[in-house]
Structures are given as structure tokens and as C-alpha cells.
């Protein structure tokens, strides 16, 4: 009788221990999964900011929209009327199949001020990751 009680106690304790262990493992798995998602989000955002900044610097450097195309494009995008689109991969290198889509929209004001809106999109989800606005003044005499 005494032996049977001890055996039941042992099994109960083992079951409780295994239950607690499974619960802790599940919570930890969720913890690590959330951390991985957050880290990936941070990495994607940092990449998007780098690309937007790169495009803004190219816009500031370019003397014309053709120049901007030459600075930003290899075989990874196109220039339309007032929009340039370029794709980059996760290593931020030009790639026609890349997961980042950089859109540069510009509006040439009559007074020589060109306003740029740079948007970086995640092609996988279609969400805009980052938007940057800047402007460049080009004097009419070309100075």
C-alpha cells in the first residue's frame, strides 16, 4: 500500500514537471519567435532608410533626371515621365528580382525647385516601409 502511494506520487510529480517544462518551452518559443520578427523588422527598416537616403543623395547630386537614372539604375528599374523605380535585394544591391522597390517621384516647380518623394516598398507585402521628402534647387542659368 505504502509502495503504491509512493509510486503514484512519483508519477504525479513527473507529470507536473513535464507539464511545467512544456509550458515554459512554449512560452520561450513564442518569445524567440517575437524577437526574430522584431529583429527582421528592424533590419528591413534600416535597409529601407539606407536605400531612401542613397536615392536622396543621388537626387541632390544629379544635374538632370537622366543623370539620376544613370546614378541609380543598372538593370534593376525604369524611368518613366516623373517617376523612377528601382529594385534592390536584401544586401541592398541592384537586383531586378529584389525585395525592396524604391520609387522616386519628382515634381519640377516653375521656379527651379524640384521636389522629390522617395518611397521604399516591400515587394513581398506591398507595404510602404519608409518615405523621405527632399528638394533640390537648380538655378535656371544652370549655375
Amino acid at each position: 500500500m505504502k509502495e503504491s502511494k509512493r509510486s503514484t506520487g512519483f508519477y504525479l510529480e513527473t507529470l507536473l514537471l513535464i507539464g511545467a517544462l512544456i509550458a515554459v518551452l512554449l512560452i520561450l518559443a513564442r518569445c524567440f519567435s517575437v524577437a526574430e520578427r522584431t529583429r527582421s523588422q528592424a533590419e528591413t527598416l534600416t535597409g529601407a532608410v539606407h536605400l531612401a537616403r542613397n536615392a536622396a543623395e543621388a537626387a541632390a547630386e544629379a544635374d538632370s533626371t537622366e543623370d539620376l537614372g544613370q546614378l541609380l539604375l543598372e538593370d534593376n528599374g525604369t524611368v518613366e515621365r516623373q517617376r523612377l523605380t528601382a529594385r534592390y535585394n536584401e544586401a541592398l544591391q541592384p537586383d531586378p528580382e529584389g525585395s525592396y522597390l524604391v520609387r522616386v517621384d519628382w515634381d519640377e516647380g516653375a521656379a527651379g525647385l524640384i521636389s522629390y518623394v522617395i518611397t521604399v516598398e516591400d515587394t513581398g507585402t506591398g507595404n510602404d516601409l519608409y518615405t523621405l521628402e527632399t528638394a533640390v534647387y537648380r538655378r535656371r542659368d544652370g549655375a
Binding site: T14, L17, L28, C31, A42
Partner: protein
């Protein structure tokens, strides 16, 4: 028949130690990932503010150019002060400001300075460690 009792206590203790270690690692991983995301958001915001200053600066340059072409003094423009260096305007967005100094030479506009000054204010009072 004297059986030796099975001791579960030591195993439970070992599992407890492993669980505590794993939990600590899990909490640290989440905290680090969240810090990474906050840093990335801050980096994005700082860049946005930098290019907002640039946008305002370029617009000021356009206004100044038009004013010079019209033969008017740059001091007529809003927020412009006349200094020894030339006509100065400071554009502040966020924690930094862009200082632009322009000079007019015979109807021609020249950019003398285009500088970003960070405005750093320490949150805690610094202590004097050594008087020298």
C-alpha cells in the same frame, strides 16, 4: 525487499536551472530585438528630419535667388539676419539646425556656408572630474 527510492528532486533542480537560463536568454533576446527596432526607427526619423531641413534650405535658396534677381536685399526674407559673413538663416527641425549663409556679389548669389549643427543637450548634469 528493500527498494531504493527514485529521487526526482535533483532532476527537477537541473530542469529549473535550465529553465531559468533559457528564460533569461529569451528576455535578453526580446529586449535586444526591441532595442534594434527602436534604433532603426530613430535612424529613420533622424534622416527624415535631415532631409526636411534640406528641403527648407533649398526652398530658401530659391527664394534668395529670386530676391537677388529682383535686385532686392536678402534681409527682406523671413528669418534672415545680416552678419559679417553675409545673410544668415537658421532652419531648425528636430534636434539639429541647418545654418545657411549667403552672400551677394554684384547680383550673383554665393553660398558661403551650409552647415548642420547638432543641438545636444545632456539629460543629466555632468560632473567636473578633474580641474587640471
Amino acid at each position: 525487499m528493500n527498494r531504493r527510492p527514485i529521487r526526482l528532486g535533483l532532476l527537477a533542480l537541473l530542469l529549473l536551472v535550465i529553465t531559468v537560463c533559457m528564460t533569461t536568454l529569451g528576455v535578453l533576446t526580446v529586449a535586444t530585438a526591441q532595442a534594434d527596432l527602436r534604433l532603426a526607427e530613430r535612424y529613420g526619423e533622424m534622416n527624415r528630419q535631415q532631409y526636411q531641413r534640406e528641403l527648407a534650405g533649398q526652398d530658401f535658396l530659391r527664394q534668395a535667388d529670386e530676391t537677388t534677381r529682383d535686385g532686392l536685399p536678402l534681409s527682406l526674407l523671413e528669418g534672415v539676419t545680416e552678419t559679417r559673413e553675409g545673410y544668415e538663416k537658421t532652419i531648425t527641425v528636430g534636434n539639429a539646425s541647418l545654418k545657411i549663409v549667403l552672400r551677394t556679389d554684384g547680383g550673383d548669389l554665393k553660398v558661403v556656408a551650409w552647415e548642420t549643427d547638432p543641438q545636444w543637450n545632456p539629460e543629466t548634469k555632468t560632473h567636473k572630474l578633474w580641474g587640471g
